[in-house]
C-alpha cells in the first residue's frame, strides 16, 4: 500500500511502513497469528494499536522456526495445533483491514511463501492489505527470487542486519525497503536482560548509505530498553515479551497486552 507524499506532488511515494517510522519513534509489536485463535489475533492487534503501537508484525506459524527461541516456538506450535493456515490468516487480515489502517507486516519462513507460490502469496498480501514481509531465513544473497515479485505488489521486503554483519551492513542497507530490522543480539528471539551490541555504530553505518528507517528487535522487554534503542533507531520491536502474555493468559490476554504495550510505548524516546 503506497501513499503519495503530498509535498512533492505524488511523484515519489512513501510506503505506509516508512510513514509510520518517519518523523517519530515507533513501537512495533509482534504476535504469532492464530495463537490461541485468529479471532484473538485480531483483538490483540487492535489492543496493541489502541495502546500506541505504530506497526504490527504478524508471525505466520511454521513447524520449524529456526530463528525463534522457545517462547515463539511454542506459540507457533499452539497456532498450528489450533488449525491455523496461511489462507485463514489472509482471511483474518482482510477482516482486520476493515477496522484499522495500521501497517502490517508478515514474519514468515521462506518455505511458507515458496510452497504457496511467491506470486500468489504476494498478490494475496496486496489484496488483503499487508505492507511488508520479514523472512528470517532469506539473507541478502537469496532475496533475488522473491524481491521483484514482492515489489510488483507494493510489498516491502524488510532487510535484517545482525551484530555479525560488519562489512555487509552497507551492502544490505543500500537495497533496503520499508525499514531495516537490526537484530540486537546473537542467537534466537527471546527476552534478554542485557544487550551488548553497539547498535549506535550499526545505525551510523546504515545512515551513511540510506535514509530508510531502522528498528531494533530481539531481546527487548522493558520500557528502559525501548528508550535506549529508540534514541538510536526509529523503532523498537517486541515479540517474545508479548507472546509470553498470550502463553500465560490465552483467550484473556487482550487487556494484559494493552497494559504491557502501553507501558512499553511510554519508553519511546521523545526527540
Amino acid at each position: 500500500m503506497w501513499q503519495p507524499l503530498p509535498d512533492i506532488g505524488g511523484l515519489i511515494y512513501m510506503s505506509r511502513i516508512q510513514d509510520a517510522l518517519t518523523g517519530k519513534k515507533t513501537f512495533i509489536g509482534f504476535v504469532t497469528a492464530g495463537d490461541p485463535s485468529l479471532e484473538k489475533t485480531e483483538e490483540f492487534v487492535l489492543e496493541m494499536e489502541r495502546a500506541g503501537a505504530g506497526l504490527i508484525e504478524l508471525g505466520i506459524p511454521f513447524s520449524d522456526p529456526i530463528a525463534e527461541g522457545p517462547v515463539i516456538q511454542d506459540a507457533n506450535l499452539r497456532a498450528l495445533s489450533a488449525g491455523c493456515t496461511t489462507d485463514k490468516i489472509f482471511d483474518m487480515v482482510k477482516r482486520l483491514r476493515q477496522k484499522t489502517q495500521i501497517p502490517l507486516v508478515f514474519l514468515a519462513y521462506l518455505n511458507t511463501l515458496f510452497k504457496y507460490g511467491y506470486e500468489k502469496f504476494c498478490s494475496k498480501c496486496e489484496e488483503v492489505g499487508i505492507d511488508g514481509l520479514i523472512i528470517p531465513d532469506m539473507p541478502f544473497e537469496e532475496k533475488g527470487e522473491l524481491a521483484p515479485v514482492a515489489a510488483a505488489h507494493q510489498m516491502d521486503v524488510i532487510s535484517l542486519i545482525a551484530p555479525t554483519s560488519r562489512q555487509r551492513i552497507q551492502i544490505i542497507a543500500k537495497e533496503a525497503a520499508g525499514f531495516i530490522y537490526i537484530v540486537s543480539s546473537l542467537g534466537v528471539t527471546g527476552v534478554r536482560s542485557e544487550i551488548t551490541t553497539d547498535i549506535g555504530s550499526i545505525v551510523e553505518a546504515i545512515r551513511e548509505v540510506t535514509q530508510v528507517p531502522t528498528a531494533v528487535g530481539f531481546g527487548i522487554n522493558t520500557p528502559e530498553q525501548v528508550n535506549q534503542y529508540t534514541r538510536l533507531a526509529d523503532g523498537a520491536i517486541v515479540g517474545s515479551g508479548i507472546v509470553k502474555i498470550v502463553a500465560q493468559y490465552g483467550e484473556a490476554a487482550g487487556p494484559e497486552i494493552y497494559k504491557y504495550v502501553s507501558r512499553m510505548v511510554k519508553g519511546l524516546a521523545t526527540d
Partner: protein, 394 residues
C-alpha cells in the same frame, strides 16, 4: 561466492547472523581443500586412525544364493566408530582446528554422527556438544553414554517432534548464538552451502577407493552402485566418483517406513515436493502450506524429512534413481545378510541390501553390483529383536 547450486537446488537460506561465518567457512574450505599439508594430515588420520581404505568385499554366498549379478560390499561398517560418518567428521574437525575454532557442535539421529563427532573432538582436543532429539536419546541411550564417555556434552532436544530434524534446528539456533569459536559439523550432504559440497568431498573417498578396487579386482566398472539415502552422505560418497561413468547405474534406497502410501514414511524422493528448509532448496516431506511433515522410519538415521540438494539434482537430471524400501523389507535384509554373510549391518544400510536382494536376481551373472554397507548394526540389535516381538533391552 558461488551460492552452491545444484540445478535449482541448494543455496544459503539461513539467518543473516550466520552469513559472515558461512562465507568464512567457504573461504577456509576452498583454501584447505587444495592445501597439500591439510590433505596429507587428513589422509594420515583416515589411514592410521579410521582404518582406511575400507575393504571391497566379494559376497560370494549371497551372489550364489540370489543367483544373478556379482555382489560386492564396500565395508564402511569396518571403519573406526562403525560407520562412514568418521570420514566427514575427521575432515570437518581438522578444518575447524585450522580455522582456529575451539568448539564443535553437531546434530545426531541414531547417534552415529554424534559418536563420530565426539570421537574426532576427543582426538583433536576440541570442546564438543551434541544435540539429539529427546525421543532419540531414549531410543539410543547407549550412544548417549558413549558420547559422554568421549567427553562430549549431549543436549536432549525437546522442541517439535524431538527427533533428527529438531536436533538440526537446535544446532542452527545454537550456532547463531555462538559463532566465533564454534563450527557446526553437519553430518550429511545437506544444509546451506558449502556444507553439501564439503561433506560430499570428504565422503567421496568411498567411491574413489571403490572405483580403484573394483578395477583391480574385476578389470571393469560395476553395472550398479547403490546405497541407502537419508540426508544422503554415504550414498553421495558412494556415487560421486561414478557420476561421470555413464554406464554405471546409481541407485539410492530411501526409508519408506510402513509404505509410501501411508503417513508413516520418510521417503522424501517418493512423496516429497520442492521446498526451502534447513538452509537449502531441495525436496521435503511437507504439507500443502509448507509445514514440514513428521516422518517415520524404523531407522533413526534415515528418519529425516528432506534430502541433500545434490541428490535432488541427480534425480531431476535422471542420473540417479531412488527407490523406497519399507521397514519390513529392511528388517528381512538385516537378518538375511547376518545369516548369509555373517555381517550385522546397520538397519540404514539394510535398506540398500533389501533392494539389492530384489535387483541382483534380475541381472546377468557377468554383471556387478557394489552396495555400500554404511555402518555396522550392533546398535540396532535390540530394536530388531523388539520388532520381532522379543522383549530385549540394552
Amino acid at each position: 561466492m558461488s551460492n552452491g547450486r545444484f540445478g535449482i537446488h541448494g543455496g544459503q537460506y539461513i539467518p543473516e547472523t550466520l552469513m559472515n561465518e558461512i562465507h568464512k567457512l567457504e573461504e577456509s574450505y576452498e583454501y584447505y581443500k587444495n592445501n597439500k599439508e591439510f590433505q596429507e594430515e587428513l589422509a594420515e588420520l583416515l589411514r592410521d586412525y579410521a582404518g582406511r581404505p575400507s575393504l571391497l568385499y566379494y559376497a560370494e554366498k549371497m551372489t550364489k544364493d540370489l543367483g544373478g549379478a556379482k555382489i560386492y560390499f564396500k565395508r564402511e561398517d569396518l571403519n573406526h566408530t562403525g560407520s562412514h560418518k568418521i570420514n566427514n567428521v575427521l575432515g570437518q574437525a581438522l578444518l575447524a582446528k585450522k580455522m582456529g575454532k575451539t568448539r564443535i557442535i553437531a546434530e545426531t539421529g541414531a547417534g552415529q554422527h554424534g559418536v563420530a563427532t565426539a570421537t574426532a573432538a576427543a582426538l583433536l582436543g576440541l570442546e564438543c556438544e551434541i544435540f539429539m532429539g529427546k525421543e532419540d536419546t531414549v531410543r539410543q541411550a547407549l550412544n548417549v553414554y558413549r558420547m559422554e564417555l568421549l567427553g562430549a556434552k549431549v543436549h536432549p532436544v525437546e522442541s517439535g517432534t524431538m527427533t533428527l530434524k529438531d536436533a538440526v534446528n537446535e544446532c542452527m539456533r545454537e550456532w547463531t548464538s555462538r559463532v566465533d569459536d564454534t563450527l557446526y559439523v553437519l553430518g550429511s550432504v545437506m544444509g546451506p552451502h558449502p556444507f553439501p559440497t564439503i561433506v560430499r568431498d570428504f565422503q567421496s573417498v568411498i567411491s574413489r577407493e571403490a572405483r580403484a578396487q573394483i578395477l583391480e579386482k574385476e578389470g571393469k566398472l560395476p553395472d550398479v552402485v547403490m546405497a541407502c539415502v537419508g540426508g544422503g552422505s554415504n550414498s553421495m560418497g558412494m556415487f560421486y566418483e561414478f557420476i561421470g561413468d555413464e554406464q554405471v547405474q546409481l541407485i539410492g534406497c530411501e526409508a519408506a517406513g510402513h509404505g509410501v502410501d501411508t503417513d508413516k514414511t520418510a521417503a522424501t524422493m517418493a512423496v516429497g515436493t520442492e521446498g526451502v528448509f534447513h538452509g537449502m532448496k531441495s525436496y521435503f516431506c511437507q504439507d500443502e502450506y509448507g509445514q514440514i511433515a513428521p516422518v517415520y522410519s524404523i531407522s533413526a538415521g534415515l528418519d529425516y524429512p528432506g534430502v541433500g540438494p545434490e541428490h535432488a539434482y541427480l534425480k531431476d537430471i535422471g542420473r540417479a534413481e531412488y527407490v523406497p524400501v519399507t521397514d519390513e523389507e529392511a528388517v528381512n535384509a538385516f537378518e538375511y545378510i547376518a545369516r548369509e554373510e555373517g555381517i550385522i549391518a546397520a538397519i540404514e544400510s539394510s535398506h540398500a541390501v533389501a533392494h539389492l536382494m530384489k535387483l541382483a536376481p534380475t541381472m546377468r551373472k557377468d554383471q556387478i553390483i557394489i552396495c555400500c554397507l554404511s555402518g555396522r548394526g550392533d546398535k540396532d540389535v535390540a530394536a530388531i529383536a523388539r520388532y520381532r516381538g522379543i522383549d530385549l533391552h540394552e
